[in-house]
Amino acid sequence: MSTPRQATAPPQFRRDPDGTHPPLLSPDYRSARLRAPLKTPIDLPQRLTEVTGPVFGDGLVRPDDADLTRGHAAEPAGQRITVSGRLRDGDGRPIPQSLIEIWQANAAGRYRHDRDTWPAPLDPNFDGMGRTLTDGEGHYSFTTVKPGAYPWKNHHNAWRPAHIHFSLFGRSFTQRLVTQMYFPDDPLFGQDPIFNAVPEAARRRMIADFSLADTQPEWALAFTFDIVLRGSDATPFEGDEHE
């Protein structure tokens, strides 16, 4: 007799097509030159270790962890915004109860970090870190301030476009992803080697949409950022829009 554990074949997650992720060796990004592996990676079949992943309890996050404007003596400086969206897999299935971590610079473009020393002010009312669990339908929402652009030393007069770092877990080791969310129409996109390391057709997927409908009157501008992690070859799901 087979056991119930073996009766269900584990899901197999589809490889992302070429043109989805940045090549590790993107020479315009100087930090990659000595850190990008140069050998071709070996294919790892997806067995139980690869198709399982951590389960996060509610105790890991507190409700206020999703509001980066709270927890200090006063509100941080800058444009108050909400960043909301839905975490789904490539088959359109929402991914519930999944951890999202974000971190970002303050409104002046300064990170609260020992190694960020450029002459923009720190904000005593802003740490720049948030986390949340998606709800039963994969929705998430953060309240924060719009991060500023900041200079770095990658090339002459290099500036990072405003961005928020996003860390996603999904359901399995295979779906783990860290990305950056950008803001619409940033004039700094053209000179940024990190944004442009992503193949052109996929860059749009890293840019949030402004939403007047979700903007809260007299309170906060709203941005929408939907995130898609790799789908599996289990039964597909009907009904959601194609990109």
């Binding site: 940045p22 590790l24 000595l34 790892l44 270790t49 399982t52």
Partner: protein, 189 residues
């Protein structure tokens, strides 16, 4: 009707300030420090010049000592997650450290057993996407010799980049080389 296919969000680097968003209290403790049979896996994260990568993170995921991914084993009672997940931000000298138990052998889907292993993701400034490796154990020569993943690697030199060697403190050591003559074998999953 054709199935829905949404295109994946692209990866980006964690950047140099990852510790702001990725710091977890006791993230290195997959199990509590005093868990019977527990040990540290340590090593350095190194770049192609042999310099330490001090702005990186190593995350691990593993079965419990019974080779299961259910929650009946003590794994997870130390850290903030359920199950065998660990996270170690690298220190100024590039060191990472994960405190855990040796996982049991997990089936390979065709009736054979894999050797005890952890899956690991490495993120860092300069890595535009994570890189993936496995951590095996040097005191499991019999299981390692039968492991279907290790068997696909070119030679013992390649396999040695994934096999942590026992140290004097009852733990294990494995340096992770992102580039260079000692470059670790990385996987596409």
């Amino acid at each position: 009707m054709s199935p829905t296919r949404l295109l994946s969000t692209p990866a980006q680097t964690v950047g140099p300030f990852l510790s702001i968003g990725m710091t977890w209290v006791e993230g290195e403790l997959v199990v509590p420090q005093d868990a019977p049979g527990s040990f540290w896996i340590r090593g350095r994260l190194l770049d192609g010049a042999g310099d330490p990568v001090s702005d990186g993170v190593v995350e691990t995921w593993q079965a419990d000592p019974y080779g299961e991914f259910s929650h009946r084993a003590p794994l997870g009672s130390g850290g903030p997650t359920t199950g065998g997940f660990g996270r170690s931000l690298t220190r100024p000298d590039g060191q990472y450290a994960i405190h855990t138990l040796k996982p049991g052998r997990v089936g390979d889907g065709s009736g054979a057993l894999q050797a005890p292993h952890l899956d690991a993701s490495v993120f860092a400034r300069g890595l535009l996407h994570r890189v993936i490796l496995r951590i095996y154990f040097g005191d499991e020569p019999g299981a390692n010799a039968q492991d279907p993943v290790l068997a696909t690697l070119a030679d013992d030199q390649a396999r040695s980049t994934l096999i942590a060697r026992p140290d004097d403190a009852g733990g294990y050591l494995l340096d992770i080389w992102l580039q260079g003559d000692h470059e670790t074998v990385f996987f596409a999953v």
